[in-house]
């Protein structure tokens, strides 16, 4: 095992999370492997399979048997989802560039060349944008709706944040800490950590045309994800600004209602006891104070853990004669696990 992994590091690691539906994995592998060979880049493939899709493993083993390059298959011990699958894949990846691919046919392999080139030209992360889109109007509508909300909350202008096709430097992959639904917002998390992110258009596959309707629970989950990312990218250092504003608004609303009710009682002798509005006002005030107090707890957590918080990411330290210097303990490549990082997320399945 050890000796086998001593081989020279590949140029590119392709990480494919097999967590939802998947297409013909062998064809997917063959097409992308051929494109990489054409580009003259050595590659390794890492398939990370979620437990409930273990049926895909035999096909993958066949690929492994016949492949001319390293193909790793990682079977997760449970239904952990795409974020965990990606993190696991990133931890194993040895290539200087890491490519993530959806496990079904989403984009044409011809997008690889320009994307790798863009990373070579200085971008830290390049995300694919399926363009021009050839799929159904329903798909496009829901995508537009999703991105509309994302744009207005995060003030970014990516067109296809959740497209599975991404190319990044290994540093980016190692630093992202993904869990839950955060894999859909990789570009936003990378931006927040100070990486340069570029979006390039890649041709969409015919197979990606099928209309996708996910059902209400999924859509509600997406909304929660967006709220989550909004909070994570803006308020992890100042939770009271978020909860405080919300709580103060609720409290003020409740107070206003009860004020009106009280004035009516004094001026027009409307009985207080038969007013349901009075109850509603009190309810709002209670909710407001509870929300605000949660923000306070958040502030206390940040304040009392400030020693583990590093608010900035250093690109380089320059000294005379001018050359980049890695500062032990202070440089940005080693992520302190189990501490609060930029996203305010602890070292969840952190790559070491």
């Amino acid at each position: 095992m050890r000796t086998e992994r001593r081989r020279a590091d590949p140029d590119v690691s392709i990480v494919v999370p097999v967590v939802e539906r998947h297409g013909d994995l062998e064809q997917l592998y063959r097409e992308f492997a051929a494109e990489l060979a054409r580009l003259g880049r050595t590659a390794e493939f890492i398939f990370v399979v979620d437990e409930h899709l273990r049926g895909a493993v035999p096909a993958l083993q066949e690929i492994q048997g016949s492949a001319g390059q390293e193909v790793a298959i990682v079977l997760l011990g449970g239904p952990f989802g795409e974020s965990a699958a990606l993190t696991t894949g990133f931890a194993r990846a040895r290539g200087a560039r890491i490519v993530t691919l959806a496990s079904y046919f989403q984009v044409e392999p011809s997008g690889l060349g320009p994307a790798l080139q863009a990373v070579d030209d200085g971008a830290d992360l390049v995300i694919g944008r399926r363009h021009p889109r050839i799929d159904s109007h329903f798909n496009r509508l829901q995508s537009r709706l999703f991105h509309g909300i994302v744009h207005s909350l995060t003030r970014t202008d990516f067109h296809d944040v959740s497209c599975g096709f991404k190319v990044m430097k290994r540093r980016v992959a190692r630093e992202l800490s993904l869990y839950g639904g955060l894999h859909r917002f990789i570009p936003l998390l990378a931006l927040q950590r100070g990486f340069t992110v570029r979006e390039i258009a890649v041709p969409q596959r015919q197979e990606d045309r099928a209309t996708r309707y996910y059902g209400t629970p999924t859509y509600l989950g997406r909304l929660l994800d967006i709220l989550n990312i909004f909070f994570l990218t803006k308020f992890t250092r100042t939770p009271l600004r978020f909860f405080g504003l919300l709580g103060a608004g609720l409290f003020a609303g409740g107070f206003l209602i009860d004020l009106i009710v009280a004035v009516e009682k004094l001026l027009f002798a409307t009985g207080l006891s038969d007013r349901a509005m009075l109850l509603f006002g009190v309810l709002l005030m209670v909710l407001g104070v509870q929300t605000l107090s949660l923000g306070l707890i958040g502030e206390i957590i940040i304040f009392t853990h400030a020693r583990n918080v590093r608010d900035y990411k250093v690109a380089e330290v320059i000294r005379s004669p001018s050359r980049p210097e890695a500062v032990p303990g202070l440089d940005d490549t080693n992520v302190v696990s189990a501490s609060l990082d930029d996203t305010g997320v602890g070292g969840v399945l952190q790559a070491s």
């Binding site: 020693r307 918080v309 608010d311 250093v314």
Partner: protein, 318 residues
């Protein structure tokens, strides 16, 4: 390389002024007669600042540059400076040349009188009256009134710190405006001296009037934090007091209605409901207060630890 004084300058898009800044700082620092280093923190500049800094670095081994990946703001830049500083004393100043490096001597002399922090006071401020000076006056008055730390000029970046004291203070969010209240909380000795302030020669100010609501909110947060972090259960209990009062009032009202009004005119639900609601809120806050004790215990905030520096040799030279 042993260093006595580390000079930290946060920079954001200051390509025109860095050259002059370096020259002035070098001249002033050389006059101090102490071993010094200059730490320039490039806070994600998008202009030619980085290239200028590289040139300066090449010519002087006493200069180091810390470059951020993106713009993180002044608090993070200062914190990075404190993290990288090697001197026993840290001096911070603005990168826009409005602070005068020839004040270094005064700051150091005052620090040596036995203070942990010496802060500049720009008494003759050379800025626009309406957009800069009036908001600043209001903010400083508020900070003084709310925290009890009476400082004229919290916003002045020109300050000198004992390194062992400042390295124990962690800054995040936009805390650099509240260094005085933050550090006096931990028992640091604080002194203000009048420093020179000059009109802007290059570029434009990066702050405007829009920051004032943020300052106000942050101030409230810090005011609360200071109390809540030392005695969380007590403060949450205080927060819950209005609901206790509300509960008792509503309870009295429901009993009164029950006893006095004839059966047909009673609306039995409203006041008992308010009683229960207030009781819930009261209980919620008290429980949260107990929970916050746990949070504080799990954290690493030790106010006494920072105050200890006063007793250490070198922490206080008198």
């Amino acid at each position: 390389m042993d260093v006595d004084v580390s000079i930290v300058v946060p920079l954001y898009n200051e390509e025109e002024s860095v050259g002059a800044l370096y020259d002035e700082v070098r001249a002033a620092a050389d006059r101090l007669g102490r071993r010094w280093e200059l730490l320039l923190v490039d806070d994600g500049s998008t202009d030619a600042t980085a290239a200028r800094l590289r040139e300066i670095c090449d010519g002087d081994p006493r200069v180091r540059v810390v470059r951020f990946r993106r713009n993180y703001g002044q608090t993070a830049a200062l914190q990075a400076g404190f993290d990288h500083a090697r001197g026993q004393v840290v001096i911070t100043l603005d990168g826009d040349l409005q602070n005068d490096p020839s004040d270094f001597g005064l700051l150091l002399a005052t620090l040596d009188e036995g203070y942990d922090v010496v802060s500049g006071w720009r008494r003759d401020r050379q800025d626009k009256m309406l957009s800069r000076r009036v908001p600043s006056l209001v903010a400083n008055w508020l900070i003084g009134a709310l925290t009890g730390v009476d400082i004229h000029d919290n916003g002045c970046t020109l300050k000198a710190y004992r390194a062992d004291v400042v390295k124990r203070t962690r800054l995040y969010a936009e805390m650099h405006r509240f260094l005085a209240p933050m550090m006096s909380l931990s028992g640091s000795r604080w002194r203000e001296v009048v420093v020179n302030h000059r009109a802007r020669r290059f570029g434009r100010s990066k702050y405007g009037i829009s920051r004032i609501w943020k300052v106000f909110l942050d101030l409230l947060t810090i005011k609360m934090l200071l109390g809540f972090t030392t005695r969380p259960a007590k403060w949450f209990a205080l927060l819950s007091a209005p609901f206790l009062a509300g509960m008792l009032l509503a309870l009295a009202a429901s009993v009164y209605i029950q006893l006095t009004l004839p059966a047909g005119e009673r609306y039995p639900l409203v006041f008992p409901s308010i009683t229960i609601l207030c009781a819930f809120a009261f209980a919620h806050l008290v429980i949260l207060g107990v929970f916050s004790e746990l949070v504080v215990r799990m954290g690493d905030f030790r106010p006494t630890e920072t105050a200890l520096s006063l007793l250490q040799p070198g922490g206080l030279q008198s």
